[in-house]
Amino acid sequence: MVDVIATQGLMKRYGRVTAVAGVDLRIPAGIRFGLLGPNGSGKTTLVRMLLGLVHATAGEVELLGEPMPRRAAHVLPRVGALVEGPAAWGNLSGRTNLRLIDAAGPRGRGRRQRVDEALERVGLGGIDGRPVRAYSLGMRQRLGIAAALLREPELLLLDEPTNGLDPRGIGEIRTLLTALNDAGTTVVLSSHLLGEVDALCHRVGVMDAGRLVLEEDLAALRAPTGRVLLRTPDPAAVVAELDGRVVDRSGDRLVVRHDDPAALNARLVAAGIPVAELVPERRSLEQVVLELTGHGADRVDAPRAEARP
């Protein structure tokens, strides 16, 4: 499969701070990719480098098979982006904003229709002439997504697309992104809402301190861990029956090392042990991410007392 995004040794230094340190990222066409990581882990800088807003200190970026930022004029019309929150001219209406941002780009026919369609898609079809200044956070977010959708992009790069939306709005945007993806658009979103990524993405990349520490299919991450979570009114009987396989016990809850939950269930029932609940253990995305990443850059601890001179 073709890669829509391919970076090689991508690095960005701001003075002495290294924001992105040697990222090799490959995102195949047609998938929904989630970029995760704590605040300050370099997600946004990475996205900005992909779009040519920030120039890499070292390394290569290929977007839709073309080198960036050299071929930006050629590539970017095929990319829709939401970078670090939406932005608009506050004194103008949402519709005028879209018309102007569309007119600023390369020439294209049917602007009015395109703008109407984009507004319709994000649920702002009936928007009036109010200036964007008066919009709620959720409306601005929808407008930002509409702007990214204007030219039916092959690739959508969305940074925190559901920021400021209520649960229903989040659901709508998720449905929209899924529909777009089904129609062939590659969707890349960065977020620190793990639930969002969990519900939407096929594949995730996790960044920490400027490095890409994981790039994996979500299905593989969530594969059963080979342990089974068990709840029973008679835990002692289980421990006796499955000697050595019980890894953890607290109250009526047990963790059992076993590859086949069905066989385990059959065995317990055969032994006359009542089972209230039995489920194969899967790692949650949250566990994976928390294991891999340190504190975000927004937490600054004081140095410990003994470290002081």
């Binding site: 900005r48 807003l53 970078v83 004194n91 569309d102």
Partner: protein, 276 residues
């Protein structure tokens, strides 16, 4: 992009407010002069002010002389300082660049929009000045000397209305160029910072510094290259015959400012990391 930029300029309330205030000051002065009849004696007060009472057609020149030293530069600083920094602080800059709009194209569009702003500013002041002047002071007694509507030039000869119009057009062009030089510097400052206010204040600092150095004998060597040095050369355009020397030198220096400042803006912006 240029059309988009012009639409953005014309839809900004601040821009219209600037133009309105620029026109309001000379209009206020005209009303005060007309009501009190207390024109400053010749040689004192603003240029042309003593003459306007006798002929309203000179009022555009007086109006320009009124707004030129402070008011006009302030509005230019505000608008030019906002050019790139305003988009950066609003966040729209990144969305324009990923649309994509080439960086050079964006800067050129901004320069065009600043040009339109200064040209219209000078033009509006001139037109308002003419309308207010003629309405309040009439065509003047000098009319008898050189036929209907004639105006005495600074050198004493009489200018016909057509000549006056041509010279006023030259003055508008010249002052617009002077202000554009300032605007180009503002555009450069605007690429250096994400704060429109800082860029605008930078421009004003330049104007103040230049005005402070100008009368200094010790600064004589650089005096001709100060941005404000040639601002008053337009008065020569109302002499008969026109004294071209100062105007020509002024135009060259101001055009130089536009080129250098725009070049600097481009050099800085072309490779700048847009992190706003």
């Amino acid at each position: 992009m240029t059309l988009v930029e012009l639409e953005l300029l014309l839809r900004r309330r601040r821009v219209w407010l600037c133009w309105a205030l620029l026109c309001a000051l000379p209009a206020l002065v005209a009303v005060l002069l007309a009501v009190t009849g207390l024109a400053p004696p010749p040689g004192r007060g603003g240029a042309f002010l003593s003459a306007v009472v006798s002929n309203g057609q000179l009022f555009p020149a007086a109006a320009l002389a009124l707004v030129l030293p402070v008011f006009l530069p302030i509005t230019v600083a505000i608008v030019a300082g906002d050019a790139v920094a305003g988009e950066a602080s609003a966040g729209t800059l990144r969305y324009l660049l990923v649309r994509p709009v080439g960086r050079l194209r964006l800067l050129l569009a901004k320069l065009v929009s600043v040009t339109v702003f200064v040209l219209l500013a000078v033009l509006f002041v001139t037109v308002t000045g003419y309308l207010v002047g003629v309405a309040l002071f009439g065509f003047g007694a000098d009319a008898e000397l050189g036929g209907a509507g004639g105006v005495t030039s600074l050198s004493g000869a009489v200018l016909s209305p057509a000549e006056l119009l041509a010279r006023t057009a030259l003055v508008v062009g010249y002052l617009a160029l002077c202000m554009l030089a300032l605007g180009a510097v503002g555009l450069f400052f605007s690429t250096l910072t994400d704060s429109p206010l800082a860029a605008a204040l930078g421009v004003l600092a330049l104007v103040v510094a230049s005005a402070a150095l100008q009368p200094l004998d010790a600064a004589g060597a650089i005096e001709p290259y100060l941005p404000t040095a040639h601002w008053l050369a337009w008065i020569d355009l109302y002499r008969d015959p026109i004294l071209w020397a100062a105007v020509r030198e002024g135009a060259a220096v101001q055009a130089g400012y536009v080129l250098v400042a725009f070049g600097a803006a481009w050099a800085n912006f072309a490779t700048k990391d847009v992190t706003s």
